[in-house]
């Protein structure tokens, strides 16, 4: 057993322990903080699996934005007092644990009995990479080979925002989400809200731009931009926008619409839906990425802000 394997094994044990704690602990706040550590450890695991693109996404969304969302939810909801009329007994819990163990073992056996020579699309992806003008195969998959998936995903984000908005009370419809910050934000938070967002914009744009050749891309960059946006609101420097705002809705839908428009134009200029004309693939991909990044940032920000006018007792 060598040192790298020892490290990977410890990392795996640590990840499992933190996940177990997130599930077993009594206080919901502690569970959320354990979950944030879990996301962080997973990002490290992804780097060890040489999937840096995924590590970026997991670190940004899994640990970061999801963590922040759950923290504020945990603070509002608290631990509560369980008044479940049919609590699970010891036997019931044991039975469920047994079933979950069976599922785990089933998946593990399936994983271990995968064929020796793994099927892979890597050669195909590598072969066509020059035609896209990109250097990062993951970006090529996302925006060229399987662009339809990414197009649909950007639409899913818009639907999710609409879904979140439907939880507003009727008389709040058309209003703005409650501000994530406090009435008079503390000075250090205001300072952070002034310094960090510009750095966040720099990092976000950098991630989108390098996504063409190095790990990075629209989703990772968009997440950072969304976080920067929310930071300015926490510091009281900007206010959550009204959900009826024309510009907001345009920004939300613009990316997917641009993506779809270029996709349909593909019928004319490149003989297929979502095909790019030869030699111009990279230019089109960059235009789409720029548009989609803005929409992702707005959508993720609105998802984190919640429905309009939400007020809790």
């Amino acid at each position: 057993m060598n040192v790298p394997f020892g490290f990977d094994a410890s990392l795996a044990v640590l990840t499992l322990a933190v996940a177990g704690y997130a599930i077993a602990v009594r206080e919901s706040f502690a569970a959320v903080i354990a979950f944030i550590s879990y996301g962080l450890l997973l990002a490290l695991v992804w780097v060890r699996l040489s999937a840096v693109d995924v590590a970026l996404t997991e670190g940004a969304i899994g640990g970061g934005v999801t963590g922040a969302l759950l923290i504020s939810a945990a603070a509002k909801v608290g631990n509560g007092v369980a008044d479940v009329s049919r609590p699970l007994g010891r036997v019931g819990k044991f039975f469920i644990a047994f079933l979950c163990a069976v599922i785990t073992i089933g998946i593990a056996v399936a994983f271990l009995s995968l064929p020796e020579s793994a099927p892979t699309l890597a050669p195909l992806a590598a072969e066509h990479l020059p035609s896209t003008g990109l250097g990062n195969p993951v970006t090529a998959v996302l925006l060229s080979y399987r662009a339809i998936d990414t197009l649909l995903e950007s639409v899913v984000l818009v639907f999710a925002v609409v879904g979140v908005w439907t939880f507003a009370s009727d008389h709040h419809w058309g209003g703005a989400p409650e501000s994530p910050g406090r009435d008079r934000p503390e000075e250090p938070l205001v300072f952070l809200g002034q310094i960090l967002p510009p750095l966040g914009i720099l990092i976000g744009v950098h991630l989108v731009w390098t996504g063409a050749t190095e790990p990075g891309g629209a989703f990772q960059g968009g997440t950072i931009l969304a976080a920067a946006w929310i930071l300015t609101m926490v510091a009281g420097l900007t206010k959550p926008p009204s959900i009826g705002g024309r510009w907001l809705r345009f920004a939300l839908v613009g990316g997917p619409a641009l993506f779809l428009g270029i996709g349909v134009a593909g019928f004319v200029i490149a003989k297929a839906f979502l095909a790019y004309p030869e030699g111009y693939a990279k230019a089109f991909i960059l235009v789409i990425e720029a548009g989609v990044t803005v929409s992702i940032a707005v959508a993720l920000g609105l998802l984190a802000l919640g429905p309009p006018g939400r007020r809790l007792p």
Partner: protein
């Protein structure tokens, strides 16, 4: 040199993971957040060491983790200070919004 970087990175993750004991024990939520913050900083340091060893893009992951550690820290502080103090903005944000 590469071995040194690897071992240093692994040690930092191991050391900061010891701090996770505080997530377990608490007693305050602030203690738990501090442990997560320490693990975050340790992870950032380990990623920087990985980048120098030749993992391309690890420094970007470090950048993202450092930025979002601050972000979720803000979420914690905001949520903890928010509870109990009654001067929340909800009243007039809402009125502003409806106009």
């Amino acid at each position: 040199m590469a071995d040194f970087f690897f071992i240093a990175g692994a040690l930092i993750v191991a050391i900061t993971a010891v701090g996770l004991f505080r997530v377990l024990r608490g007693p305050d939520d602030a203690d738990r957040v501090m442990a997560a913050q320490l693990l975050g900083t340790g992870g950032v340091a380990a990623l920087l060491l990985a980048e120098v060893r030749g993992t391309r893009g690890a420094v970007d992951v470090a950048l993202v983790l450092a930025f979002l550690a601050a972000f979720s820290g803000v979420a914690f502080v905001n949520a903890s200070l928010g509870e109990g103090s009654g001067d929340n903005t909800s009243e007039h944000t809402e009125d502003d919004a409806l106009n």
